[in-house]
């Protein structure tokens, strides 16, 4: 279902989902052309979680994300140009090229620090929440991580502190390990986590925890908007597990694009290779969202194609910007070690 939001807002959410999708696909092209090296992790297949979720945060709220951060940053409104430049290690990047894909920060949007250590951010999130409460500045913290993070000892330790100190933090776990076809409810038992469902972990600390279908933008938006208000009202930490179906392009060692996205796939996946066709037909949250927009008469197909066309152009510009941005000078390596 669609979020209960005005049409213009829905179109903006649509635009941001397109931005993420085409940015991430664009990165694969850049990588294959040899423009950057190292591991990178894409948010394709999770857009309907990140975009509605991050539309619920306010300026000043703290956001933490992981190695799979591009989608979160773009959902929150980061500039694709500067993000691309950072991923390519150029001086116009958000971190002047010193962070790369793993560590991009945008403090003005709430992203102070991005860690690629699994569960590295979870204790940090309790810290910003602790500070917000102590400084009484009304800010909340949203901590975005994957299902794997819960296997690290840092997670239960941090959940314990969050519940003990009643911290204003939303733990938003994106479980992209769901197996099976379609959007059936329930994730599969993980071979590396004995707790099942995952929300038993926060519940052990009496932290209110719920699951939501991460491919259902309306369900995500409704639940997160409501939860964020509770946290702002001082009700303490909350936990949400959003379930999605893993994008087939992540199955290989390095991301590959099985089939370039375009909005018409929402109504005809005929051209998509058979191996991945079902995912695009049933589990692609972007395509689901587009279909729902049209069905609910919130947009026409033409409008959507138009939005996508503009986005594709801006992504191309962003990639060009990144490629043209100079590398940092060697002196930059010895700057910003100490304040």
């Amino acid at each position: 279902m669609l979020p209960k939001l005005p049409r213009q807002t829905l179109l903006e959410l649509c635009r941001r989902m397109f931005v993420i999708r085409h940015f991430e696909e664009g990165l694969v092209r850049l990588y294959e052309q040899g423009h950057f090296s190292g591991h990178y992790h894409l948010y394709i297949g999770q857009e309907a979680t990140g975009v509605p979720a991050l539309s619920c945060v306010r300026e000043g709220d703290y956001l933490f994300t992981t190695h799979r951060n591009h989608g979160h940053l773009l959902a929150r409104g980061a500039d694709p140009k500067r993000l691309a430049a950072e991923i390519l290690g150029r001086s116009d990047g958000y971190n002047k090229g010193k962070g790369g894909s793993f560590h991009t920060v945008v403090p003005s949007l709430g992203f102070l620090h991005t860690s690629a250590v699994v569960a590295g951010i979870i204790p940090l999130a309790t810290g910003t929440a602790y500070a917000s409460r102590a400084l009484k500045n009304g800010r909340i913290t949203v901590c975005l991580f994957g299902d794997g993070a819960l296997e690290e000892g840092a997670s239960p330790e941090a959940l314990n502190l969050a519940s003990l100190y009643k911290l204003p933090v939303l733990f938003l776990c994106e479980n992209n390990g769901k197996y099976g076809l379609g959007r059936a409810a329930g994730a599969a038992q993980s071979p590396s986590m004995a707790a099942f469902p995952l929300i038993d972990l926060p519940k052990a600390y009496k932290i209110p925890a719920q699951q939501v279908d991460g491919t259902d933008s309306g369900a995500v938006h409704g639940l997160i908007a409501e939860t964020v208000e509770k946290i702002r009202a001082g009700e303490g930490p909350h936990f949400i597990e959003a379930q999605t179906v893993r994008w087939p392009g992540s199955e290989t060692n390095w991301p590959t694009v099985p089939y370039p996205t375009n909005a018409s796939l929402a109504w005809d996946v005929g051209g998509v290779p058979e191996k991945v066709r079902d995912w695009y037909r049933q589990s692609d949250p972007l395509l689901i969202f587009i279909r729902e927009l049209v069905e609910a008469k919130q947009a026409t197909r033409e409008e959507i194609f138009g939005i996508e066309s503009d986005v594709k152009k801006s992504i191309e510009e962003a990639m060009d910007f990144a490629l043209e941005s100079p590398y940092p000078n060697p002196e930059e390596a010895s700057k910003d070690i100490f304040a």
């Binding site: 296997e151 690290e152 000892g153 330790e157 314990n160 003990l164 590396s192 519940k203 600390y205 009496k206």
Partner: protein, 320 residues
């Protein structure tokens, strides 16, 4: 309650008395500065050590934390070598190099103690994995306190033990205090067994000062491990009658609380039960204590007459 033989139960009382006598003697020696360093006594928690370890074989592996003397003794460690280790002598289990918090008595299957809260929990997983692969029905046991429940290593270990169905028994001595802080100040969770449930592990909470209750829980857990059915979590509610460490004034506990638990002393309760069920006479019960204290005295004589280690001992056994 099952019908039990006097042969089975009286020795358990004797064992508890040995631990009690040993710990009380250590306290005395510490006050006289014959023993130095950081000492954590398990007086009041004897039923847990004896209840669990009495069902173990010599080749089962036991791990513990900083409050380990009782566990080592219950597993069969030699009293003299143990006392000598606490006194820093070369005849100690670790040649004086480990001390109270780092007891190792491999001959008895007591593998490691640690001064790091939760530090041996992951180690027990490893031993259990080896047991599982050897298929000789061996198992591993790890003792820790309620404070360990807030460490990440504890959770990671419960997860792995459950996933891999390891033959390990997690024994939590919940004495209500992590060092000087009540459990409630450290977590909103009051029963650590609940964490085991989260990781889908069979679990039970028992009165840790009731030796029979501990035995019942241990019996089931040992059977589960030996038959390849995996891990169990046993939470034993108990109390340490002395401070966190020797020298701790213990101002953070109400005297009434200490008195309340003294009245539930595991040794006194078990003795009473034995007498009432006519499984031991008053004389036998007294003798258990006398015998225990005599054995501990022998251990002290051995320890205090043992030589100090030579200086060159410091560079030995850094590497194999």
């Amino acid at each position: 309650m099952k019908k039990r033989d006097r042969e089975e139960l009286l020795p358990l009382l004797e064992k508890m008395w040995i631990i009690r006598a040993f710990e009380e003697k250590v306290s005395e020696l510490y006050a006289k500065k014959e023993i130095l360093g950081l000492i954590h006594l398990g007086i009041g928690q004897e039923a847990v050590a004896v209840g669990i370890c009495s069902l173990l074989h010599q080749d089962d592996y036991v791990f513990s934390g900083h409050r380990a003397h009782g566990h080592a003794i219950a597993k069969g460690a030699d009293l003299g070598r143990l006392m000598a280790e606490l006194a820093g002598r070369s005849t100690g289990y670790c040649r004086g190099k480990g001390g109270s918090m780092h007891i190792v008595a491999m001959d008895a299957g007591f593998v490691a103690a640690t001064g790091i809260v939760g530090g041996t929990i992951p180690l027990a997983l490893g031993a259990a994995l080896v047991c599982k692969e050897k298929k000789k029905r061996q198992l591993a046991v790890v003792f820790f306190g309620d404070g360990a429940g807030q460490t990440g290593a504890f959770h990671e270990s419960l997860n792995i033990a459950s996933l891999w169905k390891l033959p390990v028994i997690f024994v939590c001595e919940n004495n209500g205090y992590a060092e000087f802080t009540p459990l409630s100040a450290h977590t909103v969770v009051s029963r650590l067994a609940d964490h085991a449930r989260t990781y889908s592990m069979p679990n039970v909470t028992v009165d840790g000062n009731d030796l029979l209750a501990v035995l019942d829980a241990a019996r089931e857990a040992v059977q589960r491990a030996r038959s390849g059915e995996g891990a169990t979590f046993i939470e034993c509610l108990t109390y340490r009658l002395r401070g966190h460490y020797e020298g701790d004034p213990g101002k953070y506990r109400e005297l009434s609380e200490v008195a309340e638990w003294k009245a539930k002393d595991p040794i006194a309760r078990f003795s009473e039960m034995l007498k009432q069920k006519r499984m031991a006479s008053e004389k036998q019960i007294r003798e258990a204590e006398i015998e225990a204290r005599a054995r501990v005295e022998k251990a002290v004589d051995f320890a205090l007459s043992s030589p100090w280690p030579e200086a060159d001992e410091v560079t030995k056994q850094v590497f194999a």
